[in-house]
Every structure is written in C-alpha cells, then in structure tokens.
C-alpha cells in the first residue's frame, strides 16, 4: 500500500541519486509470547549484532527507496527464578534479512533527519543455545542446604547448535519496520548515518502444528551507524 501511494506521485528526478554503503550496530530483541501459566519462568530480551549493506535510490531531496541486505541476531533468554534460580537458556538466532523501505528525509544539505517506513523478510539461518539446568539424574550425595534446586542436583551446562525442527519451526519471518535517524554529509558524496530502527514481526516463529498453540513473535530494536557513498559519479 505504501509503495502504491508513492508510485501515484509524479516525481521529478532532478535530485535522483543512488547510494550504497555499510552499517553496523546492535540489536535488542524481545520474544513476545505468553508463558504466565509456567511459574517462576520468564523470557528476557537479549542484545545482538547486526551488519547491513543498504542500497538507496533517492527520487528527489525528500523521498527515497531503500533495500538492505542484512545480517541480524535476534536473541532472547528463558530463565527461572526463586527456588529454580540458575536454570536458564540463552538463544542466539542468526537471520539474513531484506528490509524494503521508503525513506522520508527533511533538513539541510549537510544534515538531514529521516524517517524510514517499510517491511522486511527474514530467513532464520542458524542458531545456538547455551544454558544450564539442574540434572535430576545426577544427584548430590550429601545435601548441604535447601535454597535452590542446585543444592540437590548437579548442574548440566550446555552450549550447542540449535536443531531446526521441521514440524515446529518456521525459517521465514516477515514484518513491518519503522526507523528514525540522522544523515550527515561528510563530503559531497560521502554520508554518515545514525539510525534507530524497530522491527515488528507479523509472522509467528512456529508453524501451526497443535491446538491451543501460543505464538511467538520477535520485536527487535536496533541502533546502527553507517557510512554510505553516492554512486552517481561512478555510474555516469
């Protein structure tokens, strides 16, 4: 819908410009789901890393279209509390992502603010899980105290590749995004950008395989710094 509206405009291409570059930053991912029926158990957001190669075509001095090729980590942690403190699992998920967005900018030639609106598709490439649980089949012979499960059972620590489950797991994710940032022209053709971006997944991480299934969605914040250059001189 967004791009249909944009295409309805008649543009003048006086300031048409093609730019590319690289940006990198940090992500902070929240796994949105509900496990309130599981006592002493919660999900927590975790940070990760991202790197992106944007390609941006400016129609004029306030409107552009951009597509990024991006690697982003969307991580989370499941942990227990109270008597079960110490039980946790940290999931690291590696996505290859293609955000497609409309860029609205405002400001002067040297310093601009911009708003990005768009959508993205992401592919879950691989993952890792690292954690600790109380091994109920490895009992401590001499109990010294009674504060947590680990007073009774030895911990089992693990750090392993996550095995994709074809019945349950969905590799593709899609959603919408919004970003706000600043672009500073270092030279006539080189730009520095700083952007905060929010991704809102519309697709469940899981395939529908059971009744009363509780969906799981990623919500990801990111902060990225990038440098880009105009390709107009090269393409002429």
């Amino acid at each position: 819908m967004l791009f249909s509206c944009l295409l309805a405009f008649k543009f003048t291409c006086i300031h048409a410009q093609l730019k590319t570059g690289v940006s990198a930053g940090i992500s902070r991912n929240y796994l949105e789901t509900d496990i309130t029926n599981r006592p002493f158990t919660n999900y927590h957001p975790k940070s990760g890393f991202l790197i992106s190669v944007p390609v941006k075509y400016s129609f004029n001095n306030w409107l552009a279209a951009e597509i990024d090729l991006e690697y982003m980590q969307k991580n989370w942690e499941l942990s227990r509390s109270g008597y079960y403190s110490g039980v946790y699992e940290k999931a690291t998920n590696h996505y290859i992502q293609l955000p497609l967005l409309a860029n609205f900018s405002f400001g002067s030639t040297h310093l601009k603010g911009f708003l990005n609106l768009g959508a993205y598709a992401a592919y879950w490439g691989w993952g890792n899980r690292k954690g600790q649980l109380a091994n109920m089949d490895d009992m401590i012979e001499s109990i010294q105290s009674d504060n947590t499960m680990f007073d009774y059972y030895f911990p089992y620590r693990y750090n392993e590749a996550y095995q994709f489950n074809r019945t349950r797991d969905r590799r593709m994710e899609w959603g919408t995004l919004i970003g706000l940032g600043l672009e500073y022209a270092i030279t006539e053709n080189t730009y520095l950008t700083l952007e905060g971006r929010y991704l809102y997944a519309l697709s469940d991480q899981q395939k529908k395989y059971m009744y009363r299934q509780i969906p799981r969605y990623n919500e990801t914040y990111s902060l990225r710094v990038g440098v880009s250059t105009s390709l107009n001189n090269i393409l002429k």
Binding site: L2, C5, F9, E32, T33, D34, I35, T36, N37, R38, P39, F40, L78, Y84, E89, F104, L115, L117, R129, G131, L133, N135, M136, D137, D138, M139, E141, M149, Y156, Y158, E160, N165, T167, R168, T176, I178, Y198, Y200, Q206, Y209, M210, Y211, R212, Q213, I214, P215, Y217
Partner: protein, 404 residues
C-alpha cells in the same frame, strides 16, 4: 505538499497503530486452576493439562487434536444429560482418550460419586497384558522361600518391611546370600526403597539384609566370582537407589542414558539431551567381576533404569538375563519443577500421573512403551518353576561363570 503531508501522516499513523497493537495470547490456565465442576471444565482442564505437560509428544503417535474434536462435544453433552451414570460414561471417555499413550508412567486416578468411588486406569499395564509373553508375577514365595532354600548357601539373610504381610509385593523384601556351590553373590529385592530403609536409625529387617549384602561385597571383593541382582517382579521406586546399589560397585561415574526435559508450553518445546549418570558413593568399591541382572516383564521403572546401568557397566561385564521389561523409564515429579509431568484437576479430585521427561538409553534407543531387551532371553516357564527349576536364575549363573 499538503497532499503529501496528509499521505505521510496517514502512513505514519497506520504504521504506528500496527506496531503498537498489543497482541493477545489465549494462554490456557494450569489444570489445577480450573475450579468449575461441569464436565466441560473437567474436559478443558484435563485436555490442556496433557497438551502442555506431556513430555513424550515427540515419540507418541496420539492425535491429541483429534481427541479434542471427538470428545469435547461428548463431555459438553454430559452437562446437558442429567441421567444417572454420567461419571461412568466420563470414565469410559477418559480410558478411550488415554489408551494409546506410550508413557508407561501415565495413569489416571479419579474420585467420583461424591468421592465414594475411585476410577483407576493405567494404559501401560493394559498394554502389558496384551503382550504375547505376558504372565502373572512370579509368586513372592519363590524368592522368599524357594530360592533361599534351594539355591543359596546357609547363612543368607532376608528381611521384610512388613513382617505381618510378607506375601504382598507391596511389602519391601530383600534377600542376600551366596549361590550354592559357588562364590557368586546373590541379591534379590522387590522394591527400590533400599536407600531409605538402610538410612533409618532403627535396625529394621530390610536394613539388616542390605548390610549383609554390603558386608559380602566388601569381604569378598577379590574372592567372589560375580554378583547376581534379581529384580524380577520389581516395579521400581526411588531413584536414589541407583547409586546406592550400582554406584556402590564402581569408582567411575558413567552414563547409562539421556533425558530430555520440556521447556515450554508447546508439545515440541524441548531442552537438550542431558546425560544420566551412575555416580559412585563415598563407600564405593571397584567390583571387577561379572554382574548378571535377572528381570522379567513386571520389572518396571527404576528396575529398567538399573538394567541399562548394568548393560553400561564400565567393566563391560554386565549382562541382563530374562525377559523384555515393562517399558517405563522416566520418573514422576511435580510439573513446576520439571516443566512437565503429573497434575491434578477437577479441584484436586483427579490426578494424572505422567513422566516428567523423555528418556533414551546409552545406546541411543528409546525403550519407552517397549521395555529393555535382555542380553540373554530366557522366557518365563511356569512348569519348570513348579518342578523346582528356575531357568532364568540358572542362566544368570551360567553367564556369570562364562564372563569370569
């Protein structure tokens, strides 16, 4: 520009609205939190309880969604139908819903009729009765009287938990001795309650028999030709007994299997496979001689764990003789601790026992619902037993001598 501003405002508003939408999740309550007494609520709490807490969905072929579609209308109808006998009909429905589950520790106990009657259904036990090798348990008298008299040297020691009820498998019974004409140690017990009895401060009979066994192990460590552990008819018990019994025989911690725990509401939400260990205890010895464990179809739960512990014994001289066991391995524990397993519903009147994890043996096989296959198959022979020949014991003695 004004048209542009209106469009931009619309686009931003819609985007912001989409992203600010709070997602609603229809998370089912815990089965213990359903307090209604209608059959509709009973069914919902039961079905959701199994849906979220059953640990073996990955290996179970039960179509639980189909069960929902089929039985929800039937339970709803029970609320409408006011005729007598509705509880019995509900019990029949529970039996039909549960009869295909592979978990050998799954059973339903339901009080009904103003708590005056109890319905108990154990699919694993019903499955056992349909096995072609099914037989009734060997009478306890065979282990209490026949074996000591005919097969053990004088000086054996036996003990009961309940001296007034010695013929019941519900009583804990232990006999420790030496096989006649050999230096093979022998231990029989019908329940895994060894650690708890041994650590009691009083000198109970079971404790004395166990002490006799331990004394034999320590004094004959180098002269014994082997050890026979007889667990026929033993339905299991405390997991602490594994180290008390087998961990006592080794100074090496070793793996006998792997357990996988649930870590979410989804049927396929599992953590990693976690090794399960036999661990030495502070009084452990290094028993280097052959160990033969005798089991039968009624050997279940902790007994079956012990069959694997013997098969995986570090010396490589552990052998399992007898019949394929019951087929239930994982333990029972509260589902808050373990993330899966048993729960109560119907305001506490009903309870569904379930295993709290999925288990596979050290050889990578999952024997749940099937049983541990013996290394040496010796079927039950009632005629031979009646004629004084214990073929399974004879084979165990033969195996120990061969491995020596």
């Amino acid at each position: 520009m004004s048209r542009f501003c209106k469009l931009l405002f619309t686009v931003i508003s819609i985007s912001a609205l989409l992203m600010q939408c709070k997602r609603d999740f229809d998370t089912p309550a815990r089965p213990e939190d359903y307090h209604g007494t209608s059959y509709k609520e009973i069914f919902e709490s039961f079905w959701n309880g199994v849906n979220n807490n059953y640990a073996m969905w990955a290996i179970d072929s039960t179509d639980w969604d189909k069960i929902y579609d089929q039985y929800k209308p039937l339970f709803d109808k029970l609320d409408i139908d006011s005729t007598a006998g509705r509880d019995s009909v509900a019990n029949q429905y529970f039996e039909e819903m549960l009869n295909g589950f592979v978990d050998g520790h799954l059973w339903l106990e339901r009080k009904y009729g103003n708590d005056s009657a109890t319905f108990f259904y154990w699919p694993g036990a019903e499955r056992l009765k349909k096995r072609p090798d099914y037989h009734e348990p060997i009478p306890l008298a065979h282990f209490q009287n026949t074996i000591p008299a005919q097969h053990l040297e004088p000086g054996y020691k036996s003990g009961y938990e309940k001296p007034t009820d010695p013929n019941s498998y519900d009583s804990t019974f232990v006999v420790s001795g030496t096989i006649k004409g050999t230096s093979i140690l022998y231990l029989y017990f019908n329940s895994f309650q060894l650690d708890s009895y041994f650590n009691q401060t009083d000198s109970n009979q079971v404790k004395l028999a166990l002490q006799h066994h331990i004394d034999q192990l320590n004094s004959h460590l180098n002269t014994a030709d082997g050890l026979i552990i007889d667990v026929r008819g033993n339905g299991g018990g405390n997991s602490t007994d594994l180290n008390f019994l087998i961990g006592r025989l080794t100074k090496e911690k070793y793996i006998y299997g792997y357990a996988q725990y649930k870590n979410g509401n989804g049927r396929l939400d599992y953590g990693p496979w976690v090794p399960t260990y036999v661990s030495p205890i502070s009084q452990s010895i290094s028993f280097e001689k052959p160990i033969a464990l005798i089991c039968d179809i009624h050997s279940g739960s902790m007994t079956e764990i012990t069959t694997l512990a013997v098969k995986a014994f570090p010396t490589g001289k552990g052998v399992v003789v007898g019949e394929q066991t019951f087929g239930r391995y994982s333990g029972i524990y509260d589902n808050i601790t373990t993330g899966a397993g048993q729960f109560k519903f119907e305001n506490g009147k009903s309870s569904l026992s379930m295993a709290y994890n999925m288990f596979k043996a050290f050889d990578g096989n999952i024997y749940e619902g099937k049983g541990t296959p013996p290394d040496v198959l010796v079927p039950y022979d009632s005629i031979a037993l009646e004629n004084g020949h214990d073929l399974q014991l004879d084979k165990a003695i033969e195996q120990v001598k061969q491995l020596n």
